[in-house]
Every structure is written in structure tokens, then in C-alpha cells.
Symmetry: C2
Subunit: 215 residues, 2 copies
Amino acid sequence: MPSPTGTTAAPLAGRRAQAARNDAAILEAARAVFLDDSKAPIAAVAERAGVGISALYRRYASKEDLLRRLCHDGLRRYVAEAEAALAEPDGWQGFAGFLERVVDADVHSLTVHLAGTFTPTEEMGRDALRANELTTALVERAREAGRLRPDVVTQDVGLLLEGCAALRVPDPERTRQLRRRHLAVLLAGLAVADPPLPGPPPAVGEFDWRWRRRE
Amino acid sequence: MPSPTGTTAAPLAGRRAQAARNDAAILEAARAVFLDDSKAPIAAVAERAGVGISALYRRYASKEDLLRRLCHDGLRRYVAEAEAALAEPDGWQGFAGFLERVVDADVHSLTVHLAGTFTPTEEMGRDALRANELTTALVERAREAGRLRPDVVTQDVGLLLEGCAALRVPDPERTRQLRRRHLAVLLAGLAVADPPLPGPPPAVGEFDWRWRRRE
DNA sequence: TTCGGAACGGAATGCTTCGTTCCGTTCGAA
DNA sequence: TTCGAACGGAACGAAGCATTCCGTTCCGAA
């Protein structure tokens, strides 16, 4: 006997499936709308999703609830990207690639810009803490790889993401390109050298053979 | 016989002087308020200036008028700083110093962020054009000085300023510091090398003496 | 000293924008 | 055939804000 929900697994079916599709449509529309304007009216989300307002309120008790959900999703995305980046063998590549992906997905607009418009849950607090720890780990790994300026700290990543997120033109794809360009300049400024000097760096005592006693 | 205005040149005098002081107070308050929030209510400006709303409307026909004035002032500041920077003998120093001053003064928030909220005057259009030309000149001089990446274009300056202007914390002075830090990273990324290699760069034919025929 | 009016403070007005609620309708599932 | 989950969208009420209006103050000229 099937459960009340999920009875029809087929992609197109009756009311239940339509509702499930609306779930996704609303979330996607909300993401797009609030990414474009963090204090857009809720009606804009409904319109973009192609549904009525009540379809929205059936799922979220209030606008604040919806924003909380979006922000938390963004936070989880950040954490996931950071974890994936830590799995990258090269510390600098992991760091740079992480930033590119986070900037591309505009995670910053979903998290920092939305936070403050609602009271966060405890779980969000924990995830934010974890995000911070992961960022620190990424920075340290990049530094240990010898490619990151030693005076860069975890919080600098926040500044950098804020700066990229601020860049915006009407066309989303062009926005992404411009942010990538800006990020490239920032990464160049963050790196001690790009590309790095090839080969292992000179070691102590590597050149004093000249002064060694010959036998 | 003195003209109706300007009768009393003394700093502290009657109603006329008070009005003159209000002129300045209102402009300063407006700058501070709209710098903090580009769509703050006009009442906030009046309150910050310590005057009533009517004192404001006596001077500006509408909110739009006030914003236009602020934006134009910012634009003029930009042009003035650019002209001063072009007088600097070192092209790179002129470029970098210009950016630091413009970022410190938060000129970007006064111009780009306010533009679009009103219809600009013709003079503003001319000044904006001039600002663009001056920026191009600054970029070219920095490039000719051999310190700027050759693939940097005029519009990159806008991106850069936008990124810096986005950085903001409650304390204005701390905001300035953080922006300076961010700008330093950007400048490092913009520079081909910092500090530049000392001495004149190697010239062609400078090393082929080894292969010259000895006489 | 007198008096016109420049300058002002701030309440009142009218409008727009929004979040949220409410009600009538639709149509899949049993 | 019937029930109710899922909707669409108008209606409501609160809030924010630019602008206007009116009564008051007090400088400055006569």
C-alpha cells in the first residue's frame, strides 16, 4: 500500500505531481528573484513561478520562512563546496576553485545578503560556524601550499566574496563573467606569484658547496 | 549698499548666517545619510542635520533635486581627483593614489549608486563623459609606466570601485580600513610586479656582446 | 520701536507598496 | 459521485514616505 504522498512516481501525473513540481518551481523562482533583489515582494516570486500567492503560503508560513529556507540552502551549498575543495590535492587549486564555484553560484547573495532579514535557527548557527571552520582550513591549506600570501586571514575571504557579489549587470551570464574577471585579479593579488616559480624552492645549504673544502 | 544676501560676513550672526550654516549642515547630513543608505527617507536627512523638513524643502524642490546635487558633487570630486592624479609624475603612483583617495571618500556610493534614481542634467552627462576620459588617461599612463597589467581596461576601474564600495561595516573608519585592505589586494593583482624590478629593463642587444667579434 | 516676511518646525495628507488573509473554484482520487 | 487538497487572485490593513500646509519665531530695515 502506497503512502499518501509519492503514490505516483511518474514525472507527469495528477494533482500530487503538479504540487511536487510547484515545490521546485517556487524554490527556483524564489532563488532567482531574491538573488536579483534581496527585498523583492513575495508576489514577484509567485509570478515568476507561474503560481498564485496561495500556492506559496501553503508551503511557507511567511516570507521570513521562505527567506530562511533559501539562506540555509545557500549555507549548505557553501559548506558542500568547501568540503569538496578540501578533497582537492592541491591546496591552492582547492582554494581558487572553491572561490570560483561559490562566486559563480552567487552563494554570497543567498547567505550574507539575506541574513539579518530573519531570525536564524540554531541549525543555521551551527552550519555557519562549520562554514567558518572550513574556510579557515581552506585558507591554511592554500598557505601551506606556498601560494597564498601569508598575511591573508579567513575573514579576507568574506571581503572578497562581498566584493564579487557586488558586481552586477542586467544580464546574469555577463555578470558571472565580470565577477570571474574581478576574482582573477583578486586571486592574482592574493597569490605570492602566479604562476609560481617552477621546481622546488632553494633550500638552505644548497649553494654553499662553493665554499666547501675540496678533497 | 549690500546685496540682500551676504550682508553679514561674520561667521556667527543672525538669521542669514544660521541659514548659511544650515546649507552646509543639510548637505553634509545628506551625504552621510545617503552614503549609508541610498534610499533613506528624506526625514532622516533633516533629523541628522538637526533641522525641520521645511528647511530642506526650502532649498531643494524635491528629493530628486537633492540627490542630483549630491551625485553631481561626487562626480565633480571624481573629476578633480583624477585631474590631480594626472599631475603626478609617476603614472602608477598617480593611478594607485587616485584609487585610494576615491575609495576613501566613497565617491562611488555618491555617484553610481545614486545615479538612476533621478534624471541627470546635461552637465552631469558631460562631466560623466569627462570622468571616463580621465580614467582612460590614468589607466594608459599607469600602463605606460610599465606597472599595470596590459590587459586592464578603463571599465575595470569601475568594477574595482564597485567591489570596494560594497564593503561595509557599521563603523565608518573600520569600513575605510577594510576597503583599503581590499584595494591593496586588487592593486597587487593589477600590477605586473610589486615592487617592480629595479633599474631599467634589459634592452635588445644588451647581452650579445659575448658573441661580438673581438678586435 | 515697529512691522513685514524670510526661515523654520513638524503635524497632516495622500499615495504607494506589501505581507497576509479569505473565499470561491477546480479536479484528482477513492 | 463526492470530498477536500491545492489553487488563483482579489481584498484588507499596516507601514513607509514624499510633499504640503500652517502657525511661530525673530532678524533686519525703516
